[in-house]
């Protein structure tokens, strides 16, 4: 009883502290200048040099492309981490999957898969001038992958771990290579010339889409897409 | 010229490098290790004698290397440092011989000799330090490298001794660090300067300087085993005999005493110390130590512990001589640095011989031991007589100068301290001599190792006899130009020059 009250009290106390922090932050927000353009002006000013009409994409891949490079590395790290933590998945988890396979899902996937691919391509393309971009496209592709895994469709049959690793890292490799390539032109790292910027960005985005999709999917599969195949094989073995 | 400059460094390296190589050689390379040790020791003596020659002719040997802005690592050879470094070098050679015999067939010899050599480097470094920071560096190295030697045997007592040793010395080091940083933040770089550094530059609060002085003395006092900071010394006697002999009788405690002398003469300056009124305090502390150490020694039955307390008492003669602050007393204190080293190392060698050859550790078990080991006990007797201050042993000269100095400085109470200490020295040392020579053995010795032709291993026999003869020779030939006494006078003449 007293113990319970103690924890309750602690919760209330902590809540109060959080409330104080929130209040202070709220005050800070209210004290902010009402109008502040930040870097919007600078972005707009340089937008035509940036190779993307969408200012967000321009910031993301050109002005602050370095952040994005590291961000992809962060994603890769998550996969590495997941791989480090993955255990030898044996049959015991597979029951789960088998029970969730149902024909409606497969039917649904048949319809939705092409649509999703198209949507992803669109998102990638539209990122150049309107909201959208590699991450969104990658996310759509990844969700398609997730659907496939859930439906136990063996699409990774020909994907070796080696090629999977290449797919996981390809965006980083390309990003780095493009960045270094710009240096041959006596420019700084990741300094695209206005003329080629668009294509560079597109290239990076395209590859990033693939990588991000694979990475997200890998994260879903405990770091390894090939893990999905394992479920698949064990499941089929049972069915037969 | 360049070589000259680097001589102090070479002295330090001449034992540091063998030490490091010995580690790498491993346990089994006995001959290589022995050769290395001797080569190092002889090189050291050679370099030191070169410097002795040079310093006598007013050459300057100095290596200076900036550690951070305004804080230099600097080695410098002045007469005083050479006195200490010569002592270390010679006794290192003796102790190396001794240790080879002593540790025959015992485990971990590579470790032992490695650390041993580094210890010697550290004490050479202490001797040659040109400023307080360098001093501190070597002081701490000495602390650290002595530790493995103290716990060498790994027994619970050894570990306990090591623990206590560290507790004292590391705390002392911390206090010292504080004092040095404080002093430095007040007056800037502190190079040892003959005649003192602070006298002119002081405009600050005298109380602050008294505090700093107190901290410095406390820091050095730990190693010099000033009461009540002496507790580690008897406990460290669990170390093997060569360690007790060289380190706890000579290098470590002397490092503390040396530091005290440096602080009083080369940092604060005698004049300034007297103005601050701190010398009396130091003299009182030293006197208390002298009396207390002797008193405690009387009650010890363990031979090495008795010697340890005797060390506590005797080392404070140096501090006392320093604190009395007159040319004669200073001469006495400084020359006692050498003399006490020679005598005490003799005693420890002899005690080690008894323990190693016969398994005798207690004073009460020494009856008639001189019949079995006359040469060892001869050395012991000479050392003991010297400790008491009997002519013509080394201790006589020290006491002579200390006594004269006390009278010269108009502090006759010091003579009472010396008298009391002399009486107690006799009380705790003479019975040992007495029972060894004039009593009949009680029975067979606990572990009598027969070493063939001689009473014990030859390597164990030569060093104590060597140091014992030195004990006599330095006193008998005290007036010759190469005697420690004359060198001490040389030092003092420079310290007190106007």
């Amino acid at each position: 009883m007293s113990r319970l009250r103690k924890t309750e009290l602690a919760k209330v106390g902590f809540g109060l502290i959080v409330a104080m922090i929130v209040t202070a932050l709220g005050c800070a927000i209210l004290a902010l200048p009402g109008e502040e353009s930040g870097l919007a002006g600078a972005v707009m000013l340089n937008l035509d040099q940036a190779g993307a009409k969408n200012p967000v994409t321009a910031v993301l891949l050109n002005f602050r492309g370095y952040d994005t490079l590291l961000e992809i590395a962060v994603l890769l790290l998550a996969v590495l981490g997941a791989r480090a933590l993955a255990v030898d998945e044996s049959a015991d988890d597979s029951e789960h999957f088998r029970s969730s396979i149902n024909p409606v899902l497969i039917g649904f996937i048949r319809v939705i898969a092409p649509v999703m691919i198209i949507v992803a391509g669109y998102l990638l393309w539209v990122g150049g001038h309107a909201p959208g971009g590699a991450f969104q496209a990658g996310a759509v592709l990844a969700s398609l992958g997730v659907l496939l895994v859930l439906a136990d469709i063996n699409w990774t049959q020909h994907l070796s771990d080696y090629s999977e690793r290449i797919l996981l890292t390809i965006s980083l490799v390309v990003f780095l290579s493009v960045g270094l390539a710009t240096m041959f032109n006596a420019r700084n790292f990741l300094e695209f010339s206005p003329s080629t910027a668009k294509w560079c960005i597109l290239l990076i985005e395209a590859v990033a889409t693939v990588s991000i999709a694979v990475i997200l999917l890998a994260l879903f599969c405990c770091g390894k897409i090939s893990n999905a195949r394992k479920y698949h094989e064990t499941t089929r073995g049972r069915v037969e | 010229m360049t070589l000259n400059q680097f001589l102090p460094l070479l002295v330090v390296f001449s034992s540091l490098i063998p030490g490091c190589i010995i580690f790498l050689l491993g346990e089994e390379r006995r001959i290589a290790r022995t050769v290395l040790n001797f080569v190092g020791a002889i090189c050291m003596i050679f370099f030191v004698s070169l410097m002795l020659w040079g310093v006598h002719r007013n050459h300057v040997y100095e290596v200076r290397y900036p550690l951070i802005d305004g804080v230099d690592f600097a080695l410098h050879a002045d007469p005083f440092s050479l006195l200490f470094v010569t002592l270390s070098a010679i006794l290192w050679l003796c102790t190396t011989i001794y240790a080879i015999g002593y540790l025959e067939d015992s485990p971990n010899r590579a470790r032992f000799f490695g650390f041993f050599s580094i210890c010697v480097s550290a004490s050479a470094g202490i001797a040659l330090s040109a400023n307080l920071l360098t001093f501190l560096i070597f002081y701490e190295i000495l602390t650290l490298t002595t530790y493995p030697l103290v716990v060498h045997r790994g027994t619970p007592e050894a570990l306990r001794g090591g623990r206590i040793y560290l507790a004292y010395t590391i705390s002392g080091g911390a206090v010292l660090l504080l004092a040095i940083v404080w002093l430095r933040s007040l007056v800037g770089p502190i190079d040892f300067t003959e005649g003192g550094l602070l006298a002119e530059s002081v405009n600050g609060n005298r109380t602050t300087f008294r505090w700093i002085f107190g901290l410095l003395i406390a820091g050095f006092g730990v190693k010099a085993a000033l009461v009540p900071l002496h507790g580690w010394l008897p406990e460290s006697m669990v170390a093997p005999a060569p360690v007790s002999a060289l380190l706890h009788a000579v290098a470590v405690v002397k490092a503390g005493a040396f530091g005290i002398v440096r602080v009083v003469y080369d940092v604060f300056g005698v004049e300034f110390c007297s103005q601050l009124g701190v010398t009396t305090g130091l003299a009182v502390a030293a006197s208390i130590t002298i009396i207390y150490g002797s008193l405690r020694a009387v009650y010890q039955d363990d031979l090495k512990r008795r010697l340890a307390y005797s060390t506590i008492s005797q080392v404070s003669y140096i501090a006392l001589g320093t604190a009395i602050a007159g040319p004669l007393a200073t001469t006495g204190g400084i020359v006692h640095l050498v003399h006490q080293g020679l005598m005490k190392i003799t005693l420890f060698f002899a005690a080690g011989n008894l323990a190693e050859t016969l398994g005798v550790y207690k004073v009460s078990k020494l009856n008639g031991v001189a019949h079995r080991m006359p040469w060892t006990m001869l050395a012991f007797t000479i050392g003991a007589m010297g400790m008491i201050g009997m002519p013509p042993m080394a201790g006589f000269i020290s006491k002579w100068y200390l006594g004269s100095g006390a009278l010269e400085a108009g502090q006759p109470w010091v003579s009472l301290v010396l008298v009391a200490s002399t009486i107690m020295n006799a009380i705790y040392l003479l019975p040992i001599v007495y029972s060894a020579w004039f009593k009949e053995p009680d029975g067979p010795w606990p572990h009598d190792h027969n070493h063939g032709k001689f009473e014990t291993h030859l390597f164990l026999l030569i060093p104590p006899l060597l140091t014992a003869s030195l004990t006599v020779l330095v006193a008998v030939f005290a007036e010759t130009s190469i005697s420690p006494l004359n060198w001490a006078r040389f030092i003092v003449s420079r310290e007190y020059q106007p």
Binding site: K11, F14, G15, V18, A19, I21, V22, L25, G26, I29, L30, L32, P33, G34, E35, E36, S37, G38, L39, A40, V43, M44, P55, V56, A58, V59, L60, F63, R64, D67, T68, E71, I72, V74, L75, L77, A78, V79, G81, A82, L85, A86, V87, G133, F135, L216, L219, C222, G223 | -
Partner: protein
């Protein structure tokens, strides 16, 4: 109070709730969710404040930051879940013991 501040304040509150959750919730999954809530709060604040430009086009830089932040949050969440899953496999427990040494 403008819309911007309202959204921003919402973000602050979300941040607070998220922080509260991270600390108070016992189950790890909830903690991870709460962490995401915190993140969302911050992102909301960023987005909201980006809207204070004089024109109708918001400041794109915070948007980019948010995107980056989201990716980081996703990665962190994924890693947290991977850890959680592994931990669950090993211990069958969903929360952390107090003495983890």
């Amino acid at each position: 109070m403008t819309t911007v501040t309202l959204y921003a304040l919402c973000g602050v509150i979300l941040f607070g709730i998220g922080f509260y959750g991270v600390i108070i919730c016992r189950h790890l999954l909830r903690k991870v969710m709460a962490l995401n809530l915190m993140g969302t709060g911050v992102f909301l604040i960023l987005i909201a404040l980006a809207r204070r430009t004089p024109g109708d086009r918001p400041d794109p830089v915070p948007h980019a930051m948010v995107l980056t932040g989201i990716v980081v949050a996703v990665s962190a969440t994924a890693l947290a879940l991977a850890l959680l899953r592994r931990l669950h496999r090993e211990t069958e427990i969903g929360d952390l013991p107090h003495d983890a040494k």
